[in-house]
């Protein structure tokens, strides 16, 4: 029986949001809030693990009260319990402090075998939290997961790392980071979609997590944004001439130059 914790975050849908052209800041009112895409892959990984080995999956989200919508979505996908970590003192926390809050909250939830997070969130794209959380929890941190099995207290993980294929074995507990290459997220069942919004979840505030206001939020966050720049991507047209072989070669060179093809 595994105890699995999965961290999910509610984010503005940056693919469809508008940005302030001067500051580069996202116009939050213009975007709908969605579950961070990588985190849905984390939930899928957690559910697959539970379905294969038995156990319980607890979804945990740090955010404002409306992040409960994202927890409802996690319920619809099939997680067993949900925890919302929410306190006005947490507002404005940077990635380091977020990692700290999540680690402390997870620490209060009791024994666990696996923690799963998304690799990065689309609103900040820092990909810090997963690493920092593993540091705070003192867990091995595994990324680029393609397949996973649990065997007598160990996780056996297949990962594609750069141009290498690795198979590794690591003792539990462990922290895993999922991306869209990890799996395909299931579609929730209608029956679960219908009932998920009425389900109870645990709320943890600063009083439950411990610590004081000066450790959290903007006050406790060392990260300072010193500047934001907006990049304009312009489209260009280019013709590759020559024989078919030369054209293919030319195309390959360009794809490599732009890091689209790497090897």
């Amino acid at each position: 029986m595994l105890s699995i914790i999965v961290c999910i975050k509610q984010v503005p849908d940056t693919n469809r949001a508008s940005f302030d052209p001067r500051t580069g800041a996202i116009n939050r009112a213009s975007a709908e809030n969605i579950a961070n895409p990588d985190d849905l892959h984390a939930v899928e990984l957690a559910l697959k693990l539970r379905d294969a080995c038995g156990g319980r999956v607890t979804a945990i989200s740090m955010g404002p009260p409306r992040a409960a919508d994202t927890l409802a979505e996690a319920y619809a996908l099939g997680v067993d319990d949900c925890v919302l970590v929410s306190d006005p003192a947490f507002a404005g926390s940077d990635s380091l402090v977020t990692g700290k809050i999540l680690a402390r909250a997870i620490g209060k939830l009791g024994r666990f075998d696996v923690v799963v997070t998304g690799f990065e969130a689309i609103d900040g794209n820092t990909a810090h939290v997963s690493y920092q959380l593993s540091e705070f929890l003192g867990l091995p941190h595994i990324t680029q997961i393609h397949d996973l099995m649990i065997e007598d207290g160990h996780a056996v993980i297949e990962r594609l790392y750069g141009h290498e294929y690795q198979k590794i074995r690591v003792e539990l507990p462990v922290l895993l980071a999922a991306t869209r290459n990890t799996n395909r997220v299931r579609a929730p069942r209608l029956a679960d979609l219908k009932s998920c919004t009425g389900k109870d979840f645990t709320v943890m505030t600063m009083a439950d997590v411990g610590g004081s206001a000066d450790e959290y939020g903007t006050a406790g966050s060392p990260t300072v944004v010193i500047g934001t720049e907006v990049f304009a991507h312009s489209r260009g047209r280019e013709e590759i001439r020559g024989t078919t072989d030369e054209k293919v070669e030319g195309l390959m060179q360009r794809l490599k130059k732009h890091n689209i093809l790497r090897y």
């Binding site: 579609a187 209608l190 979609l193 219908k194 009425g198």
Partner: protein
């Protein structure tokens, strides 16, 4: 390349602001649904459409089903899709809880079906057909038959079909000849042929369950002698294993569009061993079929609106990007070219599409809501709502279908030569759309249904009920600044509609039924335009209300709504005057034209 096939925002607007789906959740039957779960369900439908359907939309057209001599090989993406639909509970979503369904409001279910059909119409029909067949089984089959067939259909393993059409019985179902010979073994032996049966055979399902019309040997001629049967391709044998039931697939049509789903020819009883199981009472088959005809016809309108939606967004995207020409007052050829959306004529074509797509969608959603309201209403209110649905059904089926062709054609026009080539998806949309005025009763049949049955039913009760609904909207709009002129315009057109109806009925009163129905399709066209104008007025009201609250829709969207309404009233509604003139002037002259007059 086009990636958008429907507008989430507009779908939400139509569901929440125009037709207020939330009102349904107050009824006990739908109490487990909420605004939040509606959103999650729509998001899930979007995920399935984006993940499994849209990516193979063009490929399913280019690699259509192949007849192997015994079965039909369909695209490999079909099976996992149907499995996903079954697993998610979509196949029986609208069935009641006690039958294992989700009791989902049809309004919401249809909104999801709209997303699926816009993503890939051909693919969306596989589970949809099973849903239709299942509802007949639940309504009319014995418990024993339900237990044999329903579970595997709900699980997506067995494909359901509607097997009505025969080579000699298309529009005229009273001429069905497939025969059911009674036996003393609890089943009938079926012999005959069916044609054009959608998903009548394919390799993405383990079995096919036909809901088939046949005539019991010795039954009266005409519609009163038709019965409804379950005729499986494979029947469960005594040992529980499936055995062949003598239903042979003899071919698969090659179609101009909608090519991802197989349309089959079937031969039953070639070895005198095709068993059919009677549903309900003998000779009542056609009336049973009609139980689900309203919903089947709403589905056609929905599919047509969805395809037109996808074509509209493809052409909109292109019109924003394609640089061609300069504004009309710019004479300097050195100035850069402008996106074609800057040309008024292109905007007119886009507005036309938007007016058709969003007007049709609004009507389709409203029709679904009527079905939901009927399921919870009682007494006179129920009868009234039933009347509105009855009279609207031929319009819900036909306006989106006929105008879907016009709309997808306009999409091609926006792309010019590129639209005519298969480099872009719009030509496929136009081919896909062409089926809709044909299946589930041709436009001609719908016209006769509207004028010959619905207008006259219960002494005009359906007309009265519909007028009641439309007049309520007109009254509401009259009090509003900016909308009153449109309300007046619609009111004037309604008066014209009533006059046209009155004139037509004169033929009927004189017993000249041929003249009465000769121009029924034109009457249907005229009625369709009025009804969509009414849907646009409803949308105008909703847009004004939404603009008052600081709404999530955004000012441009709402302004665009009001402008599209204005477009409809200025460019589309006036067609009713021409149609009225035609109806008045024609004198049903086509009745007098004889086949010999087409000589050479």
């Amino acid at each position: 390349m086009a990636t958008k096939f429907y507008s989430e925002k507009n779908l939400k607007f139509v569901l929440n602001e125009v037709h207020r789906i939330g009102e349904l959740f107050k009824h006990e039957r739908f109490a487990e649904y909420s605004a939040e779960s509606t959103q999650l369900i729509l998001d899930t439908a979007k995920g399935i459409a984006n993940g499994m359907m849209f990516p193979v939309f063009a490929e399913m057209d280019k690699k259509p089903p192949e007849y192997t001599g015994t079965t039909i090989r369909v695209h490999p993406a079909v099976r996992p899709f149907v499995e996903k639909m079954a697993d998610g509970g979509w196949i029986n979503a609208v069935m009641p809880y006690d039958l294992g369904g989700q009791q989902m409001p049809l309004t919401l279910f249809n909104a999801c079906m709209f997303i699926f059909a816009a993503a890939n119409y051909s693919m969306s029909v596989y589970p949809g057909l099973t849903t239709g067949a299942l509802s007949l089984i639940y309504l009319f089959a014995t418990k024993e038959l339900q237990d044999i067939y329903a579970p595997s259909m709900v699980a997506g393993k067995w494909q359901g079909t509607m097997a009505l059409t025969e080579p000699e019985a298309g529009s005229s179902l009273s001429d069905v000849r497939t025969t059911a010979f009674p036996t003393d073994k609890g089943y009938y032996l079926i012999k005959g042929q069916k044609t054009f049966i959608s998903a009548g055979e394919h390799d993405a399902a383990e079995n096919i369950v036909h809901l088939m019309l046949a005539r019991i040997k010795g039954a009266p001629a005409g519609v009163k002698g038709i019965s409804l049967f379950i005729v499986p391709r494979h029947r469960p044998g005594a040992d529980g294993k499936l055995e062949f039931n003598d239903v042979n697939c003899t071919g698969c049509y090659h179609k101009m569009g909608y090519r991802g789903s197989p349309i089959t020819q079937l031969a039953m009883g070639e070895s005198d061993d095709c068993r059919g199981f009677l549903l309900g009472e003998a000779n009542r088959g056609l009336s049973y079929m009609f139980h689900m005809m309203n919903e089947a016809r709403i589905n056609v309108g929905l599919g047509a609106a969805a395809i037109a939606s996808a074509a509209y967004y493809a052409s909109l995207e292109y019109s924003r990007e394609r640089l061609q020409g300069r504004i009309i007052t710019e004479k300097d050829p050195a100035k850069p070219q402008i996106p074609i959306i800057e040309h008024a004529d292109v905007r007119r074509m886009l507005l036309k599409q938007r007016a058709i797509v969003e007007g049709s969608l609004s009507l389709v959603v409203y029709a679904g809501k009527l079905v939901d309201l009927i399921s919870v209403a009682e007494g006179e209110e129920k009868t009234r709502l039933e009347m509105v649905l009855e009279i609207l059904t031929p319009i819900v089926k036909t306006y989106p279908s006929e105008m879907g062709i016009v709309s997808t054609s306009q999409a091609i026009q926006c792309l010019g030569g590129y639209g005519y080539s298969d480099e872009f998806p719009v030509e496929q949309y136009m081919r896909d759309a062409r089926i809709h005025p044909i299946h589930e009763g041709t436009t001609g049949i719908q016209g006769m249904d509207l004028l010959g049955r619905k207008v006259t039913m219960k002494n005009g009760a359906a007309v009265k009920a519909l007028l009641g609904e439309m007049n309520a909207t007109i009254a509401a709009a009259k009090t509003r600044e900016g909308l009153a002129p449109y309300a007046d315009e619609l009111e004037k057109s309604l008066a014209l509609w009533q006059a046209v109806m009155g004139a037509a009925v004169q033929y009927a009163l004189k017993g000249q039924i041929d003249k009465f129905l000769a121009d029924a399709s034109i009457f249907l066209e005229l009625t369709g335009i009025l009804v969509i104008a009414w849907q646009w007025l409803l949308q105008g009201i909703a847009a004004q209300d939404a603009a008052k609250e600081s709404s999530a829709y955004g000012a441009d969207f709402l302004q665009g709504k009001l402008l599209t309404m204005e477009y409809f009233f200025k460019y589309e509604l006036p067609a009713v005057y021409g149609l009225e003139k035609i109806l008045g002037a024609s004198g049903a002259m086509t009745v007098a034209v004889k086949p010999v007059h087409f000589e050479d």
